[in-house]
Amino acid sequence: MRAATHPFVFTGCVELRQALGLLALDERELLDRVREVPPDSIFFHTHGYFLRHRPVTTAYGNDFARWAAVEAHDLVLAERLAVVEPFSFPTLDGLREELVTILHDHLRGVDAVVRLPFARGFHFQQSHVVEVPLGPHVNTLAEFRDGLAAVDPSAIYLHMVEARARRGRRSGDFGEWLSSSLDMPALAAAIERIDAHLTTLERVRGRLLHLVEAALLEGGA
């Protein structure tokens, strides 16, 4: 079995949330705040939703859409925000611009916005991700499969989401390692195409395992 030129280390993570002290009590304020908050806050309320929400709760796709539906009771805005695909934007400023455009266009057709009490406002946060290396280093595709099957779901998030969106590794860590260290560009490309939006970390794990198992059956690595 082919051995990697560099071992892969599965790394889990813990997300530390930080309140920014910025809030929006109506949709116009939401537009203003989305324009000015740090990029990390945009990341927390979009990509980060994927880490925090689980099978039963992934109903809105991001925190902005959830707030529009549950607190502002504006289902039109909620639907427009829910379909924003955070993984399709190369930069967080590009994602921010998309959110601003949706809010701006929506507000052009609204005469008056509902003012909410403090507790139901949108409270902006950001996060610090503390990385936690897990388990032994893996050197082969079979070891990679075994590690992937057992690792904490936060590792899927870190290698598939954080790596792409906040650390500029567009292929994600799995794809990058498979391509550069195991010389398996086709498998890497298939992993890169996994649609991680509006699903769960466990389902993404399942899709990853399916692709890796298929490669092993074909005799790859």
Binding site: A19, F118, A119, H123, V132, V151, S154
Partner: protein, 396 residues
Amino acid sequence: MNRIGEYRHVAPQGTVDILERLADRVRGRRFLHVSGSRLGGGSAQALRAGVPVLNDLGVDTSWEVTGGDASYYATARALQAALEGGERVLTEAGLARYVETNKTNAKKLDLRADLVFIHDVPPASLVTERAVGRWVWRCHFDCAAPQHGAWSFFRTLVDRFDAAVFSLPQYARRLGVPAYILHPSIDPLSDRNRDLAPREREAVLTSLRVTQDKPLLLQVGPFTRGHDPLGVVNAYRIVKKHHDVRLVLAGHAEDDPDSREVLADLREAARTDEDVVVLELPADAHLQINALQRVATIALQKSTQERFDLGVAEAMWKGKPVIGGPTAGIAQQIIPHVNGYIVHSVEGTAFRIRQLLNNREQIPRMGAAGREHVRRTFLITRQLLDYLALMVHLTA
């Protein structure tokens, strides 16, 4: 003492492994918690469970408690109530004595640690005596709308910390230091939440004289207007026209005339309806609450006053759907239509109870969803992950 290995059976897969790895990263650093009491719920309850587990993980963790005379505790209580938004009279002399008492406490206590967590108001002014390590103020209550004078005094203390921690962003003030968000948690291995053998459960229920011959609606919480037990009675009366159910209200009256009045009204309701059961229980009646939550058909938490209300998570952990009031803390725990319902009125409460009683198959489905939600989000293992991550982040 709980051993960390026991949590592998209840925490999400992989959580204990991450805890052990994080503990490795902070080994050799000292973690200190300081609170105003070792007794009661809230921070003390969380520390009783969490400190032994952190030590079991190899993280040198200790817990100190401040002390003082009656005036120290009275001032600390009044100050906290004022920070929660209540009108209280705080005198300069009382506040000065509070600060002086904590200066004396600082001389008695060993406050040397890499990370010092100061819980709530009683020990907060110890920060004026800080020497080494990073200091964090852990606020367990809603501090978003404090009495102005109280906040003017207290802000001078908070700004001397390196960071603050709140349970929800809605509970936080805008501060000059970073404000982190850590949800509170329940301990699944404590008497309040651990599995009960049928015989043990039946013995507890027998001692409470609670029978299980009809569906049981349960609200656990203090008999205060903020928890609205009278609203629960009125909702029960609407439901009772259609379903033969029993309502159990378990809690205690607080030390104020308003709460005693609520209790008197509840007793009167129970006197005229044998299916309204009012159980006055002490704060440490954990096994009794556990047994009641396990035999409840539907749990209620119809709070109107902002508190995190972990009774919601406790009932969900026992596989019960929860109907709760629209506070930020309850909204954090209930996912509407998935593991319960958020309601805004007596009528809404009755409507959702009837909906569940008329569609019984929803009850175990919602209960199972609630238990999984709690497993991932509100168990103590998650809170310990947050503590250790904060330690890594602040003391690197």
